[in-house]
């Protein structure tokens, strides 16, 4: 950014350094003035959310997340196993997050299959046992995910969440 360090301002925007410098200054000025900067991520996030809408399934909302429970502080939440509960009316899914797996159960208990969905795609479905319990491999990479559960009651998708 030394190209404009002299007393004489330069406006030669054919010069890459000058153009970049002035652009950065404009972005920072807008930021300082509280003007919303165009965020390159906003549109791709909007499009991802749009593309992944699941219009046919019943949406089970996140109603409990142990990571958010308890005023007793962060340490307690960190040492215990994280549990999540998703509900839609009488139907729901409970999930327990271990180091390498998602252990869950359909509620009420019924036989079905469960698919882990990430923004990269869907994994192979896993069958539940007779009590509706299932174990999914915890995805190695982070990121946003959801479960889609198919049973005699229909198709249920959880809210998106992050491990």
């Amino acid at each position: 950014m030394t190209t404009t360090s002299g007393d004489q301002p330069r406006h030669d925007w054919q010069d890459d350094e000058v153009l970049l410098h002035d652009l950065v200054a404009a972005l920072r000025h807008a930021d300082a003035a509280g003007q919303p900067l165009p965020d390159p991520r906003a549109e791709q996030m909007a499009d991802a959310a749009w593309a992944w809408r699941d219009l046919d399934a019943e949406l089970a909302a996140l109603v409990h997340d142990s990571a958010l429970e308890g005023a007793s502080g962060m340490r307690a939440a960190r040492v215990t196993t994280r549990t999540l509960m998703f509900m839609s009316g009488p139907h729901g899914v409970d999930i327990e997050v271990t180091d390498d797996a998602l252990v869950g159960q359909l509620c009420p208990a019924e036989v079905g299959s469960v698919v882990l969905v990430t923004l990269a795609g869907e994994q192979a479905p896993v069958e539940t046992d007779e009590y509706g319990s299932f174990v999914l491999d915890r995805p190695a990479e982070g990121g946003v995910l959801r479960l889609r559960c198919r049973s005699a009651s229909g198709v249920l998708v959880t809210d998106w969440f992050v491990l």
Partner: protein, 230 residues
Amino acid sequence: MRRAAASTSPPDSSGWKTAVMPHEVSVSELATRAMDGDQQAWRALVDRYHPLVRSVVRGYRLSAADTEDVLQTVWLRLVEHLADLRDAQALPKWLMTTARRECLRVLRTGSRTVPMDPLDTMPIPEQPDRGQVDDGLLAAERREALLVAFATLSDRHRELLLLLAADPPVPYAEISRRLAIPVGSIGPTRARALARLRLAPTLAGHLADAGAPTLPPQSPLGAQAPSTRR
């Protein structure tokens, strides 16, 4: 800034959404249209509230990866919960609450804590108009032109320039990882992004004022690279 964006000729599809969907459209109408399957309305809704959500998230000083997860989670959830929000007035509160809860979740489940969001790490300059104090109006006009031109760039080009603008500087290795391009092509890509910036209609007059040719030598390379991320 937005009015100027809307009054110039609309950029191509990678440009600013507000150019397509004017700000006068009410939030409840955008939400209704989005629920009816209008993707442009959905984009406009996200565009309008993304700064709000980002301002909530930045307060938690999360890593870039965590910030991205939180922002993405908020929009993934909203698109499916629009129908639950009976009143458009409830939308900002819903967004802020969802974002806060996700940020708390990040903090409590333990994660990286290095703030790396290039938009959030830009310091406030003491004198953004250094060298242009005598000509405040012109300076404002030039900044406006740059910002509008910037908004017409492709996602990749915008992201690269934002990363290059970050202070402290983002290492090239990190830029390479985030944009999925080799370190060696960052320089050429930067040159193409800047060449593209010069081609924006709002910069034409300013380039002419400088007495320089309108088309930079790199213009054949200025063709927009397809966005391959995600």
